[in-house]
């Protein structure tokens, strides 16, 4: 299994010193979906954009199809975007209001010189059908559609060039709950049918669990744990993952005891020394302040960045 997209020690520091992404190692194989969860502001959206160089990384290396694209010149990078797509969070802002749906969907094909005019025109209804819209929608403008429909349009646009890698940056968090499941199912269906590699970013654990067989957890610009979905949800090893999972209520299962983290998320401009999570971690000892834990395999396919990985201990639980 060779990786389609690979990040090594990838980093991005914004002006003002905010280290949004700091030393991330990540690999996504052809046709694989990786879920990326974390709370707001942990850098997951930035990481998603850095992976397709919508934001330029300033540390580490990025590989796409075994080709180093970290410093690929703009022109070559633009050509490469044919193989990458992104679906944004906000379906109301991510479509140019002055273009028809047909123009929006045909534009990526035009840019990459795919097919002639007639072929592109013929492909638009096909793509609309693929995402569950009707051919006659092509002549309408985005403002005539609901949020869920717009997200379908955005998906059709992202898939127009038949990319190998699709980034979904919180594609459902701006939608009504009743619509979210439809869009999620569509995305999963398309991902399987087209054999897409997919990075699915969300703060919604249920959505990630639904979408991704493998999940990475992010905290303050770093990946703290990464494992197969079932393993991660059943036996999380990092105390942050445990806290995150306990915060999500799960219908159908018995109510878990919640771990209530103390304090606030530290500023990403000035992260704590050593382990970033130590200021809020129930297990933190002096070693955590001195030495930064690296991602290490604790079980087959499960990597954790913690000096004291392990199952939840009773004394770490607060009262229900």
């Amino acid at each position: 299994m060779t990786a389609l997209v690979q990040a090594a020690a990838l980093g991005k520091t914004f002006a003002g010193g905010v280290r949004a992404v700091d030393g991330v190692d990540l690999a996504i194989a052809q046709g694989e979906t990786l879920g990326l969860v974390g709370e707001s502001g942990c850098g997951k959206s930035t990481l998603a954009r850095v992976l397709i160089r919508l934001i330029e990384p300033d540390a580490g290396a990025l590989t796409f199809r075994d080709r180093d694209i970290t410093h690929l010149p703009d022109r070559a990078m633009r050509a490469l975007r044919r193989d990458m797509g992104i679906v944004f969070q906000d379906p109301f802002g991510s479509l140019n209001p002055r273009m028809t749906v047909g123009q929006l969907i045909a534009e990526p094909m035009w840019i990459h010189g795919i097919g002639d005019r007639a072929a592109r025109r013929a492909r638009v209804p096909e793509l609309l059908g693929l995402v569950g819209l009707l051919p006659e929608h092509a002549s309408r403008y985005p403002h005539e559609f609901s949020g869920g429909q717009r997200q379908r349009i955005a998906i059709a646009r992202a898939l127009a060039t038949e990319p190998a890698f699709l980034v979904c940056d919180e594609p459902t968090s701006a939608l009504d709950v009743s619509i979210q499941a439809q869009v999620l199912n569509l995305l999963r269906d398309l991902q399987e049918r087209l054999g897409l590699a997919c990075l699915f970013v969300s703060h919604n654990l249920a959505a990630v669990r639904h979408m991704a067989p493998r999940v990475a957890v992010m905290y303050l610009g770093r990946i703290v744990e990464e494992a197969a979905r079932d393993r991660l949800f059943a036996a999380p090893q990092h105390p942050y993952t445990q806290a995150l999972l306990s915060a999500a209520s799960e219908p159908g299962s018995e109510r878990r005891t919640r771990i209530v983290l103390k304090g606030e998320v530290p500023s990403p401009a000035n992260p704590p020394s050593g382990c970033r999570f130590r200021t809020r971690c129930p297990r933190a000892v002096s070693r955590c302040a001195e030495e930064e834990p690296q991602l290490a395999e604790v079980a087959p396919g499960q990597r954790v960045a913690c000096h004291f990985p392990g199952a939840l201990r009773p004394e770490e639980l607060s009262a229900p």
Partner: protein, 294 residues
Amino acid sequence: MAVAEAAVPMPAKRAKPPGAISRLIAHPSFRWGLLLFGLVAVCGLLADWLAPFDPLRNNFRTRFRPPDETFWFGTDRFGRDILSRTLHGIQVSLRIGLGVALLTALIGGLIGAVAGFWQRADGPLMRVMDALMAFPAVLLAIALAAALGPSELNVIVALSIAYVPRTARVMRAGVLVVREFPFVEGARAIGASPARVLLRHVLPNAMAPLVVQQTYVFALAVLAEAVLSFLGVGPPPPTPTLGGIIADGRDFIQEAPWISLTPGVVIALVVLGLNLMGDGLRDALDPRLRTAIR
């Protein structure tokens, strides 16, 4: 750039932002402005047919005639019909106003778009604009028009240089806002070149303030043209210009006030009409209003 007009053709074309036109018509000040400006403009455009006399022909037997049934707005010291001269003067004013509005939109729009879109160009371009803006526009135009020599084209060029900074600023501000919209990132994500992002995605969504601004520039140019003509650096005589007619009447303001009064009132009507239209356009195209409705 071929990229610019490469709109992907789609079967059915529909009106762009629906509602904008009807909002415009419903706006009272736009209606009044259109009425005022339209009335004057139509009179000017039809000057060749409407003017009862040749605006250039001297007639010493009809000098200083006060308004009567033959000369509705009187005559000047050469016996020329003020109405005919004013009608032809409107034509000149409109040509110059429109020319300045279009030329500043083109040059100022380009400068503003480039400055707003490419941060590296922003500093140098806008400092040049600031330097131009430091001069009072009319004073700058007078100096330029005097240096270029009196002709209609030179007046357009001089006024355009004087008014370009305002247009550039408005355009830049619009581009700075639209540049941050998510669909611009989306355009980059599908591999659109910077030129395509700017021309196809940013500019069409940043034009509204420019359109509003250019109606004001039109009004300012009409006013400034009158000033230049009044001072004698406008289109050379005997071309009838509104400012020129006012200047003709200046020495006889006590005895023959109708000479200066007629073109003066016309200038006021044109400028008032254009400003009212600009206000209406501004309200109709206001992006805040649009998002509220959307």
